[in-house]
Amino acid sequence: MAERAAQEDFFVQDDEDTQKGKYLIFSLGKEQYGLEIKYVMEIIGIQPITEVPELPPYIRGIINLRGKIVPVMDVRLRFKKEFKEYSDRTCVIVIQVEEVAMGLIVDAVEEVLSIPDSEIVSLPEIKQNTNRYIKGVGKVGDVVKLLLDCTKLLTEDELEDLSEL
């Protein structure tokens, strides 16, 4: 296990040059979000989802990705937006952070953009608490994209569960 992780580290380091500053842009309603491309494993259409009981509502269940079982998270529900019926535009972005794989259900995938660090600003202080998953705001031309922090997206829900109690 450790070796594999180390190996992946190597690849990540190697690929960093070509992947650095590149973001996969997807949309939820009107807003556009960006994910660091190095986390993205693949993009697939919506799949039949097997519901798993007793999980937070934003975890829709698990899917069979060529023999690998991957949980899927509805990003709309994750961000407390209203649920939208899945259509053939709906995509699942499969990301892998360290050892954990996760499918993100989004309205649509747009494009891959290079956003240099100089064009990324952090969120205003005041908003920080509500937007824990947003790492920064990337400016591309005159539109802004919200850049997600994948690690927090996958790990920070315990906090939330506790505060909801």
Binding site: M1, A2, E3, R4, A5, A6, Q7, D9, F10, Q13, D14, P48, T50, E51, V52, P53, E54, L55, P56, I59, I62, I63, N64, R66, G67, K68, I69, V70, P71, E99, V100, A101, M102, L154, D157, E158
Partner: protein
């Protein structure tokens, strides 16, 4: 990139090899310590292992490891060459084992990707000191011996007088034990010639007998005896069929230089060259090591293939068509995939021997610290279990053995007073029982003390019913409850009350269980029951609403339809059903998992009676989908970490590629 990959691979190989070497080393040392002496072979073996570790560690730039191995190599070089008469073996073993422990820690660090930054300085110093002490002793001894022997010893013949001979001996066919015969010859010759090297080097193993049979036994001698004299000596060997003795050309001897020291070097080279040739001839390796992750991948792929196969052969497009040739081909495919699946499973099966042998070290260390003499007996160590399961039982076994040594076995005086053998025995036994493997940990100590267990459980508030009503078995089972420990004082090894429940939990993780039996004064036996494999189970698929669940067949007793008149309600409104005079609670799966289903009337759906640990209940489901062998997959880590419910143990893929959740019957009942 290639570079990185290579380093990675080398590191993996290094870790694997060194771990193996260290394990081997530990085994040799423990065996030597048991025999209370280091014979020449084990010293050579240790020397060889240290040499290997030194070489590879230095190559991988792990300096502290290399330095330590080097020191130990020095130590054993000294032992090998000078053969000191008085060695404190237990001190020596302690020293080496300490070194091994250090290496293990460092290796673990390397495995975790941390820098191997341990400081071996103190250890090096103590080895150094030990060698110095040994040296002094030996020199003193040698001096006395030298004075006594006077001038009797003939000085080593000068190189100029001696020549190098090469002799190849072939033994008569069917004489048997060629290696032993060769060894006798070596012993004989050692007294008569100045230098002696031989091939194969390791005369201990049966393999070498095979080699000698095929290629003959090769000797390199340096002696001042003439060709004829040597031939005469060698010809006396029993069962000798053919002898090829040749004096090596003067040129080779000369080329090696006139200096005395260089001659053995040449012999060494000669020997190495011949060894290489032999190795080449001996051909390929019969065993390769494969990383577990690759096996897991293979297993996943085969699982997928099985599913893909049923997707093809049971394709809805084929329905109603008459396809004789297709059916034939499909059957053939089915047979092959089945065999492939069996084969992959068998690759993952590993004998328990390695896990068992690790316990030797534990017993050794503890018996010293507790000052109890204990013998560890291993039985059925060749029993095979899935690799994944082995990882889960090493800890429980260790716990049980610690407990047996600390609590179970009495002190020596006590044992003698009771008329028991002074040396306690712990037996570790493995055997197959159907689709399970039983592992027994038996000790001949004082056994469990019922009164003490009860008293303790009462004090901890762990009793659920009056003590008088409990059976012997139930009392013993109390020790598996969390927070239970009868030992008042905490020792280094046990007594913190986190032992037995960890054992039970660990086993439950792999679908096993643990039971205990005891006879006061005669010892107690822990029986671990573990499944042969986790990967494939026979199961029943059921439907609840739109979801599909899988129940392991092993826990299903029967399926039945409810009849209204046998239905009961208790005061909480919980439903129960009377089946043949026994009352079973009903768990409605759709309620338990909060699922929508049109079937809520008990008479419409079906009830499945499941049992776990002699506790039974009825599960209410919509309908049965059928029986199937399924490949068990763990739930994704993300879900495992967040799942509160105990009702699910994993998931599996069905023939159509959809996912079914596997119910954990034990969890449901609790």
């Amino acid at each position: 990139m290639a570079d990185h990959g290579q380093t990675e691979q080398m590191l993996e190989m290094y870790i694997y090899e060194t771990t193996q070497n260290i394990e081997q080393l530990e085994a040799v040392i423990l065996a030597a310590e048991n025999a209370d002496r280091y014979d020449e072979d084990s010293i050579n073996e240790i020397f060889r292992i240290m040499h290997t570790i030194k070489g590879s560690s230095a190559m991988m730039l792990f300096d502290s490891l290399a330095a330590l191995a080097h020191k130990m190599e020095d130590l054993f070089y000294f032992l090998r060459e000078r053969q000191p008469a008085f060695i404190d073996y237990s001190l020596l073993s302690d020293l080496v084992l300490e070194g091994i422990d250090f290496m293990k820690v460092e290796l673990q660090k390397i495995k975790n990707g941390d820098p191997a930054d341990g400081e071996a300085g103190q250890l090096l110093q103590s080895i150094e000191n030990y060698v110095t002490v040994l040296k002094e002793q030996t020199t003193a001894a040698a001096e006395t011996a030298a004075t006594a022997a006077g001038q009797l010893k003939t000085p080593m013949p000068a190189a100029a007088d001696s020549s190098i001979y090469k002799a190849v001996l072939h033994f008569a066919a069917d004489c048997g034990m060629e290696n032993i015969r060769a060894y006798t010859l070596v012993l004989q010759l050692q007294e008569q010639v100045a230098e002696l090297q031989y091939l194969p080097e390791d005369l201990d193993s049966a393999d070498s007998a095979e080699l000698i049979r095929e290629k003959g036994f090769t000797l390199f001698l340096r002696s001042d005896k003439s060709y004829a004299e040597l031939e005469e000596i060698l010809a006396q060997t029993l069962f000798l069929e053919r002898l090829e003795l040749s004096q090596l050309p003067a040129a080779e001897t000369a080329a090696a230089g006139a200096k005395d020291g260089d001659v053995p070097e040449t012999m060494q080279q000669l020997k190495e060259r011949t060894a290489q040739e032999t190795n080449l001839a001996a051909g390929s390796q019969a065993v390769i090591s494969v990383s577990v992750s690759k096996l897991d991948q293979l297993m996943d792929l085969v699982g997928e293939m099985v599913i893909a196969e049923s997707m093809v052969t049971q394709n809805p497009d084929l329905k109603g068509l008459q396809l004789d040739n297709f059916e034939k081909a499909a059957r053939q495919l089915h047979k092959i995939t089945g065999e492939l699946q069996d084969l992959v499973m068998s690759i993952r099966m590993v004998p328990l021997a390695t896990t068992f042998h690790k316990m030797h070290r534990l017993v050794r260390d503890m018996s010293r610290q507790l000052n109890k003499e204990v013998k560890l007996q291993l039985l059925g160590e060749q029993t095979e279990v899935d690799k994944n399961i082995i990882e889960h039982i090493a800890d429980p076994l260790m716990h049980l053995i610690r407990n047996a040594m600390d609590h179970g076995l009495e002190r020596k005086e006590e044992r003698e007073a009771l008329g028991k053998p002074a040396v306690g025995t712990i037996t570790l036994e493995a055997k197959n029982a159907g689709s399970d493997v039983l592992i027994l940990v038996k000790d001949d100590g004082r056994g469990l003390n019922k009164a003490k267990i009860l008293e303790r459980a009462q004090a901890q508030g762990l009793l659920t019913k009056p003590a008088a009503e409990m059976t012997e078995q139930e009392i013993y089972e109390l020790v598996f409850l969390p927070g239970f420990s009868t030992k008042k004082d905490v020792t280094e090894f046990s007594g913190r009350g986190v032992g037995m429940d960890v054992v039970a939990n660990n086993l439950q993780l792999v679908g096993g269980s643990v039971a205990v039996d005891s006879v006061a004064g005669e010892g107690c036996t822990f029986t671990l029951k573990i499944p042969l494999t986790l990967a494939i189970i026979d199961s029943m698929n059921v439907k609840v609403g739109n979801s599909c669940f899988t129940i392991p067949i092993a826990s299903i007793k029967e399926c039945l339809r409810a009849q209204q008149h046998t239905l009961l309600h208790d005061t909480n409104g919980d439903e129960m059903l009377m089946v043949r005079g026994v009352c079973y609670p009903i768990i409605r799966l759709h309620q338990y998992f909060a699922l929508d289903t049109p079937i809520t009337d008990l008479s419409e759906g079906i009830l499945i009676m499941v049992e776990h640990d002699k506790q039974g209940c009825l599960l209410f489901v919509d309908e049965l989908l059928g029986q199937q062998e399924v490949v068990v997959k763990a739930l994704p880590a993300y879900i495992r970490n967040r799942h509160q419910s105990k009702g699910l143990s994993g998931c599996t893929l069905l023939g159509d590629g959809s996912i079914s959740l596997i119910l954990d019957v034990g969890g449901l009942l609790n």
